[in-house]
Amino acid sequence: MGLTSIAEVAWNSLLLVLSWPNILYPVVGTLIAMCVAVLPGVSGATLLALAIPITFGWEPLPIMLLFGALVGGATYMGSVTAILLNIPGTAPNGATVLDGYPLARQGKALTALGCSATASALGSAVGVVVVLLSIPFVAQLILHVGPPEMLVLSIWGLFSVATVIRAKPLRGLATAGLGLMCSFVGLDPATADARYTLGTLYLQDGLALIPVFVGVFAVAEVIDLMASGRRSIADEVGLGGSLLDGARAVFQHWGLFLKSSTIGTVVGLVPGVGGTVAAFVAYGEASRSAGSEGCFGQGDIRGVLAPEAANDAKDAGSLLPALALGVPASAGTALLLAALQTHGIRPGAELMTDGLELVFVLIWSLFLSNLLTSLLGLSFAGPLARLTTVPVRRLAAPILVLAAVGAFSYRGRMGDLWLAFGFGFAGFLMKRYGWPRIPFIIALILGPLFEVNLNLSLSLHRVGRIDLLTHPSILFGVVLLVATVAFPAWQKQRRRRS
């Protein structure tokens, strides 16, 4: 199928989505998703799980419209709580917390919300365009991504740790090492040996990301707020900044925006990786490319822009492996596949040719939902930002309860609740005594990806399937790593000379 006919199908599906009464599904779905996804731990996947039984008797078209809206609506709201309350709604929003909340503490919650909404909407648009252009060769592309490519991606992401620990390099490396060791907790992926589980069954599944994020950021922050005696989150500075400044930041850093959106879409295309890796790799790349000019981790607007653009751009990309190959890229797309198969829609070549209109309906619904959430987010940003001026003595208990509910509702285990509060205590001590938390989180996320793909790559090398020393992806990865280190150094040197 040529690009012209694909564009034609895409246009027709857009008209179908915008027609009456079809437009009601994405609008209502987005509103429902926005209201419910304010609760931490409620992701697009949770909403899809709830919606599947309701949609049993529906036609495929409204199902695609509703499901796209539910995923899109849930993605944005997680970043609102991340920026305002330091509670990442879903795991990918963990990257938004790193600079979004410091901005809120500086009284720039409106700027951060404006930037997040604009980057989300435009990132989603970039994702749709990249997907549209890659449909003719997507199946081939996905099949070429293997362990060596994933290994390069994980090393590239881990490399970003170096750029966020400049102030305290030894402690930064130590917390990154602790993050890696914590990521190895659970059953070994190759041998199923129990590692660092303290003899418990609970830890055999590994450390769940949502409770750890909720603990390290939200719980730790509440303890710090209560202990420090601050009156409110934006205590010293009051409420400043503007939505326009935030939206303008996306256009000022358009290069970074395009790079982050592309990272998000490409990572989204890779099955089994997901938005968390996309957001953190984009954050790391933003921090690295900023060099010494950035103040990442202390309230740099680029630290909000990059993960938000990547997280929303990945949504469109993650649909393709699911729909083209039947390989889900995330929990959300796995549920989507299950729902489609219940209705007799089978993923594969047939869906990508004869059923392409349905695929585009899903993508447009997702895009429309992202656009709508951003517009609504911008409209409600003012009242929402006022949360940062509410006295801590009134806000602390609700935030803690929200954090507890978020940690528990993720899997329904009391262990997750204790894990969140345990990591909250550790996170508070790390913050108070100057142990950086960002390297810990980045290493915790990328550790499993690194380990699994290193083992697989070494096994493939051992049996002669690939040669690691001459494999094009590894060579490309080495060139990429050298370039990402050398280029900022070269730029710095040139600037100093001039």
């Binding site: 030894l170 090492g177 060791m181 040996d193 208990a397």
Partner: protein
Amino acid sequence: MRRSFAVALLLASLYFLVHTMGLDSPARRVPSLVIVPLVLLLAVEAVRELRCKEPPSAGARAGARSALLWTMALPLLISLSGMIAGPALYVLAYLRLRAREQLWLSAVVAAMLALSLAGLFRWVFVVSASRGSLLSLL
């Protein structure tokens, strides 16, 4: 506390080291790349912390202790009285005792929270609410 935390991190890394040495060869391949430099780094940091003088901060320590106690009370209450009654009791106690709000206001907020949580666990969350160890006995 500053020193104790640095030493606690070192002890945690030593646990990881001892456990890594006891693992079979394939399972310890990647962890052993990380753990040895980690122990060294944390040892350097712990020694550095032990050498420098800890500034006296009795007031800040008392504030932190109180904040920690209030924070850890929540999971404890939830473990005892469940995911609906626990947060409600916590909010009632917190608003009345720490935030010094009026009793009727604290009670109304706690009751509304309990109702909202009951609704959320009934219709929104895919997991059921824990009843807590005390309520399970009844």
